[in-house]
Symmetry: C2
Subunit: 399 residues, 2 copies
């Protein structure tokens, strides 16, 4: 029997407790022995929780108990969570987490401490919620040079976009509905401005390409400015608009990492990933295109991944998984403004002006004061010089 | 540096050699050291192959060379391949394979030998080609009770069905085209009669539910008898016809395992898996629905999974993965004729006869001598007693 602890009894933490209880048999089969939940740390009291006998308020109890071998951090953020995780690792405990903000910001540091201590630091739940993606990348697709990772990594924005597409509603209207239904936070910025997706693509980039990518340096465009006109233009082009987070190496060795709404052709699997679902497309030079799909958030799906990591830590109590990436490097990221992409553009110019400026443009539609079209492959820096009055512009994912 | 060998220099074997060469750097990073291809065993000669210096014809060279730590079996079938794999394991070598026929038939036996010898026997490539599926199931979704696995596991039949749907062609016509294009074998039975998909779902069932499922005992219906009328009926019902292989536990503890063409609602991700692509849907009681998509066959995709397993074996040279399942048990499989399913049925009776026999039926269409409809949930054994003259019948996948 292996003693474990949960830090933070919010949505994810209570899901982890629930899964540990509900699937005891399966977990014991996977881990080789039972996982026994000894402590749950939270500042609050939960007098009605069936787990109330495990609740404690003093972190040092967990930190100083040598019986606790595996700790699931479910507090979130980079304040107390980072402090506690550091201390748990230094106390020789294996740590698993769903905290993408912490992993994106301090993953290299925490993996280094874990390496020094000979313990595991695992974070499958930090990207794609319940979807197995980090481990398949690091232990199944290892025979590949990864040519691109492209994902729908935020459920809230995907839900909003799906509603905008299916119901033809404006962003503000759908956001309000999503907030009322609990799918969006009262302050929706982390989701709708793309920061959450950005952290997740940084973690994928870190793992696969081996160098820390600072989320603050990644070009990130959210979904706030997408108009119903643009959604309609996508439909005309037989595409759907999706917030994609992408990473791919360029020929000069630099890494392109960016988050932006994209026009996705209906033929691409990502076009059919709707509602709160997430999906990650991985292209390897041997395997070709693969896709991993599932629930990217939510109590039990996220707990599924956290407990999966706890089981893996239990199996590898004496042999740590060799995960690491090096610290951020100067000039490692490509300037995304220089990458040739196909663009959808909506301009407040007439069709004639568009044809004059960009003869290759494929006009999707126009009215008296605007024109929507697709360009050929061109850099954003070129597009900006075309002299048209651009209202919106989004990259188009190739087939 | 770890010395490895390939048995069989056909499509998969030559792909493995190619990937080992092409992605040396990535492979060394994943394995912690370089994998060096020492031998390729084949009865044939390949005077023009860049790997000709590694070719040997005598298996005992591999078997008796203690330097060779990892062997990739790419011969196929259950004759010489089974003999060689057994002998490699007994010689203390780790073995990886893409051979679904051998794993489906003798997986329990081979895993037992591997366990006795303390070596790995890995077979990610045997299901879903390049798609990571076995390892995610066994090391990411371990915190779940797996409620169902449902997959498009054969690329040839999926290609044929896609063409039948998109072009409205008859099965025989499309099969002939597929044979001409090399997508189908001259003797297409293993694919079109569902045996290949059957072997793969058996391997998934073995791993997840821990007991050997004999492919010969699995109810298996192929795609030979699907008519263009049925394809059209599916379209009317906003569904697409797909050959699905399914496994789920029933309430009485028995396992339902079957392969059959299904009507798949357009809302289900599986409906959008086209051409030679495969996909496996896994539903867990914590994670909900997940899907794994990619190329289920082909030289490099399959080699990607084989070499991925070689890397995993290299990482675990001294610690074997604890995979096993017990031998077949009496009365372990449910009788699929007793499982309540929604059915599409095409009968040579009039609409009135259908309404009289099955009042809940949803009529999709009729002409003078046939009527196509969907039933409510009912067992096949009940359907057979309804007194209608059934021409074709296929289960409908629930939303």
């Amino acid at each position: 029997m292996i003693q474990v602890a949960i830090l933070g009894f919010g949505t994810v933490g209570s899901g982890v407790a629930e899964v540990l209880e509900m699937n005891q048999k399966e977990i014991a089969r996977g881990a080789g022995e039972a996982l026994c939940l000894k402590y749950i740390l939270d500042t609050r009291v939960f007098p009605d929780s069936p787990f109330r006998d495990r609740l404690i308020h003093d972190f040092s109890v967990v930190e100083s108990d040598p019986e606790v071998k595996i700790v699931a951090e479910c507090i979130g953020g980079v304040g107390v969570a980072y402090d506690f995780v550091t201390r748990c690792l230094k106390a020789g405990k294996h740590v698993v987490t769903s905290n993408k903000e912490m992993v994106a910001k301090y993953g290299d540091v925490l993996l280094k401490i874990a390496q020094e201590q000979g313990v595991n630091f695992l974070f499958e739940a930090s990207v794609g919620g319940g979807i197995p993606i980090l481990r398949p990348l690091m232990s199944c697709l290892t025979a590949n040079r990864i040519e691109e990772i492209c994902g729908i990594l935020n459920g809230t924005t995907n839900y909003i976009l799906t509603k905008m597409i299916d119901d033809g509603e404006e962003f503000d209207t759908v956001l309000k509905q999503a907030q009322e239904m609990g799918y969006a936070e009262r302050d929706p910025s982390a989701d709708v401005d793309g920061h959450d997706a950005c952290r997740k693509i940084c973690i994928l980039a870190d793992l696969v390409y081996g160098v820390h990518v600072d989320p603050d340096q990644v070009a990130t465009v959210g979904i706030r400015n997408i108009s119903v006109e643009t959604v309609a233009f996508a439909d005309i082009a037989k595409m759907r608009i999706k917030l994609l987070a992408r990473v791919f190496p360029r020929e000069d060795g630099k890494l392109a990492v960016f988050v932006a709404p994209h026009f996705v052709p209906a033929k691409n699997q990502l076009a059919h990933v709707d509602d709160v679902f997430n999906a990650v497309q991985v292209r390897g030079n041997a395997v070709g295109e693969t896709l991993f799909y599932g629930r990217g958030a939510g109590k039990l799906p996220t707990a599924s991944a956290v407990v999966g990591d706890m089981i893996d830590a239990a199996v590898h109590l004496d042999k740590r998984r060799d995960l690491s990436w090096s610290s951020a490097q100067e000039n490692y990221l490509a300037d995304v403004r220089d990458i040739p992409l196909v663009w959808f553009v909506n301009v407040s110019d007439g069709e004639d002006a568009v044809r004059a400026a960009l003869p290759e443009a494929r006009i999707l539609g126009r009215d008296s004061d605007s024109c929507g079209f697709l360009t050929g492959p061109m850099a954003l820096s070129e597009l900006e010089k075309c002299g048209l009055h651009r209202i919106e512009q989004y990259p188009v994912l190739s087939d």
